[in-house]
Symmetry: D2
Amino acid sequence: MRKIGIIGLGHVGAAVAYTLVTKGIADELVLIDQNEAVVLAEKLDLEDTQAGLATHTHIITQDYWQLRDADIVIMAAGDISIFSDGKNNRQAELRITSQIAEETAPKIMASGFNGILLDITNPCDVVTTYLQRLTGLPQQQVFGTGTLLDTMRMQRTLANELHVSLQDIQGYNLGEHGESQFTAWSTITVATRPIAEVLAQRNTDFTALEKAIRTRAWQIISGKGFTSYGIAAAAVTVVQAIFSDAHVTLPISSWNSEHQLYIGQPTLIGRTGTLRVVDVALTEQEQQKFNHSATYIQQNLDSLVANLPR
Amino acid sequence: MRKIGIIGLGHVGAAVAYTLVTKGIADELVLIDQNEAVVLAEKLDLEDTQAGLATHTHIITQDYWQLRDADIVIMAAGDISIFSDGKNNRQAELRITSQIAEETAPKIMASGFNGILLDITNPCDVVTTYLQRLTGLPQQQVFGTGTLLDTMRMQRTLANELHVSLQDIQGYNLGEHGESQFTAWSTITVATRPIAEVLAQRNTDFTALEKAIRTRAWQIISGKGFTSYGIAAAAVTVVQAIFSDAHVTLPISSWNSEHQLYIGQPTLIGRTGTLRVVDVALTEQEQQKFNHSATYIQQNLDSLVANLPR
Amino acid sequence: MRKIGIIGLGHVGAAVAYTLVTKGIADELVLIDQNEAVVLAEKLDLEDTQAGLATHTHIITQDYWQLRDADIVIMAAGDISIFSDGKNNRQAELRITSQIAEETAPKIMASGFNGILLDITNPCDVVTTYLQRLTGLPQQQVFGTGTLLDTMRMQRTLANELHVSLQDIQGYNLGEHGESQFTAWSTITVATRPIAEVLAQRNTDFTALEKAIRTRAWQIISGKGFTSYGIAAAAVTVVQAIFSDAHVTLPISSWNSEHQLYIGQPTLIGRTGTLRVVDVALTEQEQQKFNHSATYIQQNLDSLVANLPR
Amino acid sequence: MRKIGIIGLGHVGAAVAYTLVTKGIADELVLIDQNEAVVLAEKLDLEDTQAGLATHTHIITQDYWQLRDADIVIMAAGDISIFSDGKNNRQAELRITSQIAEETAPKIMASGFNGILLDITNPCDVVTTYLQRLTGLPQQQVFGTGTLLDTMRMQRTLANELHVSLQDIQGYNLGEHGESQFTAWSTITVATRPIAEVLAQRNTDFTALEKAIRTRAWQIISGKGFTSYGIAAAAVTVVQAIFSDAHVTLPISSWNSEHQLYIGQPTLIGRTGTLRVVDVALTEQEQQKFNHSATYIQQNLDSLVANLPR
């Protein structure tokens, strides 16, 4: 039986739940949210979708104890409304999400949970680092979606630019799932050719292209108030990699032993969680960007410790 | 190529679009909404989901002319916010949705569209009737999801009550997709046995059970502010029946020649639209409820004609 | 993790394996066959199919010990070639399959296997009964696909006859998965209406129709030498019902305590196996056919005990 | 509506049909084989699988005229039995398949067919070249699966070698779908790193590895007598790329204007067929292998013209 818990049933958590149900990935879903009425409503709405499916997903609500034998718990609790003023209030988001993490972690662990904890909240790297400390789970069992979604956006942006399928675009966005991330151009190929070669005749403005990738999230947020389907797809990709013991390399937020924090880096994933960080031979400049991004995450971690009453 | 237009990208339209993309049902999607920013945001978010799929869906926005060769146009434009005060403002909803229908129908038809128009807005039966008149499309090419969603809810409610899979529950909810609908108990079987037999020893309160089915929608709306996943599943079920020429009987809102309006009734669906209404031999009492529901729809149609400036 | 063993990699076992892989149902497959080269070939061919899938299935071969923690073992070993002379050699088939069962059961059990044993070999009911005795597994953990495939064929035959989708046809074929089976006409509905009503004006020859259903298997065998896709679909339907704890009623070959043998009867299926036999209120005549079918299975069981050296 | 014709219902054609049905890709399938009984059997067996699906596929048999409005016709007619003696009888295979092509092409074209002709028979490149000439269809509407299957096998072989997912392996096998093919090592990356770098410390015998990739097909044939699931997956990948206008680069057998024949090369595929050959910057040595492979195909084409009575 595949059992998954989702904590936080906002737009993102609900989209993840819907995808897991309609694709028949989860046999059992445990849905938890501070708003009891919302969870019940999502349970009913999700149950209504199952009439035409060959699979069934049993949906349980508001019961942390049910997480004791969950394979995966997805942390999706946050408060997107802090962006409703259109400003980039990442500090405010950090305060809220870290507080939720502090309240939630002990409840998850009290159930006896010993599966994989997948963080999809923001700021992803800081919160994932914090969640690992709060839960005390082994580092390989805790990780965040990191720059997987940014990588998917990079693939789409370049695919549109070059009029090819995104399946033809390989490579990674790395670092913080936030403004300090970067496109690792040296890793990117188009139908196996290095992108520098492909774009050689084009006089391409890589900086502009990279910015377009990074601001894609803000375009979505400014239009619909939040992003949901892309992050749901990223989360489900990770979930499928875990269940099928895929040994696939994904740019998720995993433990970086040099920087002693979680950060978006190519990581091999299997049933037991992260298997190892995959060396992709960044250029010196890219490595600097990566280090800079790590520093930025560390600063946020420091502010977290400094600002919150302990 | 399977080309589908969706008009209205609120929670429902977006959930339909997401399902069509992730299940690889549509090769081309045309998304139209009065809010340009929302459509662009949904397009970007939907594109972000496609990285791990074996299928591709090309997404076009805000271009009515692209509907000219669409196989299906799904009408999903409405304004759920009128329920935000928790009251049952169906009259207000009718005013808004009929106005949208009036504005939209000529634009759809101006493209040269001659496919199937599937209405999933509320009040479904009135709006579907109105849309058929406004577009002048043949009656078999216009229909609404009607009581298909209510039937799915009935299946789920009875399945939960009896601790069996909803696949074991057959039968229909019929009439208006609204408060005057009814559960056609004479059509319902549990693993092929008439439900009256199955529940004979149970002293079941059928009226309470029927009310529980009908109020399921309100439970969802009161919790999350709208319903989306169930109606999306219903719409996609109809879409798949059309594309695969399924000749399947579904309780959709189709043209009833006796009452001269659209109403939820078992209807055979194929590639060309509705093939015929399927006689399910209702009891006299059920037939009365059906007629009563038709009368209620007619009254709403009359108020529509009376109240709107023409 | 979902782990499934398949014993016997002929056309049927291979088709089941292929379906489990392409639908992403199994995370791990254990393939066992007396022909080592065939198993290796199927493993390689199945691995080749996974390039475009979002899921991965790890394939293990020829290792009974790997069945110790399998959720389900599918018994698919038989020898279809005995029908290659076009004659109905069911007795010969019984000898061969029962011998395979005798050889295989101890090996399965020696692994420590305590999951669900699903028999899809023929003669299904006799072999399933025999397998339960040989393994000593609880009766609810052993069952065969029984008349599920015959029911699917009945649905298709009637759907073709009536020009409707097979989803509109409900009801069961019951009894032996063989010539003594019968169509339980009293259970059959067409879009919820009893089939007798639907066919009332048609002067339908039910006996001819029933024979057409029953001989469908022979039409396939005479054309391609075996049947594979239909039985694979039936097996996968049962597998999905088990994994998702569906509580769905399927006409599988389950333990009948009155007749003290396995026979095709409506049975509720969940994660732990068969939950209970579902009473579908057969007519007296249908009950006689069922008893007759049970007698036929018993005779075969007796001949099995009589003929085989013990 | 998605309409696909399959000519030849042997193991391969049947596996393609089964996959198209179970994945709900084809709304209508036209099955044609010289053996009427086999086609009818496959139709019945395929119909039996549809009971639990949300999609329907209408199956038509033995009617060339139905190909007139097919989107895609898949050429799968051949005679694998010529390999049953375990020898590599490619010349014999060429005689048989080319003869089938000669008989079949006029029948396809007589229907008025103007879709995409996808060849999956062997020797793939020769037969595809021959089919294009015989049908007179535009070169971009005719192609073969070419080295797509070999590429999938290369991905799997390297993935197994490196204990990673095949999704981490990018690159191509190119040239003839036969013994003169080659692994284009310069195109291959492992999680974006050039394979030469990844294998640098390993003292890898690339020649042995390449041979292992190439002989994978023979391992399967020697075990089960034919290959079916891998080639079915390759064919379905191409079909999905066509329907969804994917603009994806696949190493299929497409028209090479320099050599004036069809050969496995990276090719962009969309709804109208092949859009363009994609330059992947082979090394000089790889280019020589490619040319050598082209020469080999040309020799076979010459022998075809020389040996067959015209």
